[in-house]
Amino acid sequence: MADTPFILQEHQFHKLKTVLERLRVECAARVVFLIDRDGQPIAFNGEIGAMDTTSFASLAAGNVAATSSMAKLIGEDTFPSVFHEGERESIFISIIGRALLVVVFDERSTLSLVKIRTKRGSFEVAAILDEATEDSAAFRVNQNSFFTEITDEDIDSLFS
């Protein structure tokens, strides 16, 4: 069977957005993303311009999956963070349990600042995600009318 769905409720989403917003300001970053380790974008804050955030999320997850496997091959459990330095823009990715906190920053910030601020923000993000994970199962059992109400016609209509 596939995994239990991960359900993010509105109040949890807004709490995450608040943490990301504060983190972006504290890091003097261009944009901060929260991405599921399977590659699904969860939330972001900052300037994305024309960036394709869905592709970005998928590639970030692929990147972390590959480097984590490389870590195992050299006897490390994992690399808790990954850094890519560009000429103008850089990317710092921090692994928080089931999610990735991705900070995109330029010359207005520094790696050390981003690392310090991200570490602190990670705890808050982890707490909200833990709460959402615990709630996901209970939410389905208690309030799953949305799921059970889906009819064959609803599903068929997607393909008409």
């Binding site: 596939a2 769905p5 991960f6 590659g39 889906i150 599903i155 997607l158």
Partner: protein, 194 residues
């Protein structure tokens, strides 16, 4: 893993196209990409070698419409088919909600199909899944080629659990959307069952 966001009212699911090297996994995605309206799809990302063989994965997000006010978005992935990219295949199966096995119908590729199917079962189990309990569709691709094995023979050999089987010619799109619909429908039905 299906990700449901109540704030943005979205359901996100992950579907993986699996199969031996050169069976047409990327061609399936390319056809879906070419035939879908721009507003329903994102970019098709291909992490490929210089000779266009899939190195890590191909990826495209596809929005199918809304169910009960929730946008349904399917993230379609392919795995690299070549035997030595097994580590990458394992990674891509993480969090999968549904699998399409693309079989190459040509006689000389039968062993490669069987090997890849066995590899799929093994890699799913490494990730904690069981092929018998996951939304799954078998596609018999390249039906237009001269040296293909008859459909019933291929089905007998490759069908694992009575899953839907579709004949396809991915290069011209035949069977491509039928396959996608079948797996997407199973994923959404699974969600309803809980």
């Amino acid at each position: 893993m299906t990700f449901i966001n109540y704030a943005s009212r979205e359901i996100n699911c992950k579907i993986v196209y699996y199969g031996p090297g050169l069976c047409g996994k990327t061609t399936n995605l390319q056809y879906i990409y070419d035939s879908t309206a721009p507003q329903a799809k994102g970019k098709l990302i291909s992490l490929a070698t210089e000779t266009d063989r899939t190195l890590f994965f191909d990826f495209m997000p596809l929005e199918l419409g809304t169910v009960r006010g929730f946008k349904t978005r399917f993230h379609l992935y392919t795995v690299p088919g070549q035997v030595y990219y097994d580590a990458s295949r394992k990674l891509i199966l993480k969090g999968v909600d549904g699998v399409v096995f693309v079989a190459d119908s040509q006689e000389e590729r039968m062993d490669a199909n069987i090997e890849s199917l066995y590899n799929l079962e093994e890699n799913l189990s490494t990730q904690g899944y069981d092929l018998n309990n996951i939304p799954y569709v078998l596609q018999l691709n390249k039906r237009d080629l001269p040296n293909v094995i008859p459909t019933d023979e291929l089905t007998n050999e490759l069908q694992k659990k009575g899953e839907p089987v579709y004949e396809a010619v991915a290069t011209n799109g035949s069977g491509v959307f039928d396959t996608l619909k079948a797996v997407a429908k199973q994923v959404l039905t699974e969600l309803r069952k809980g």
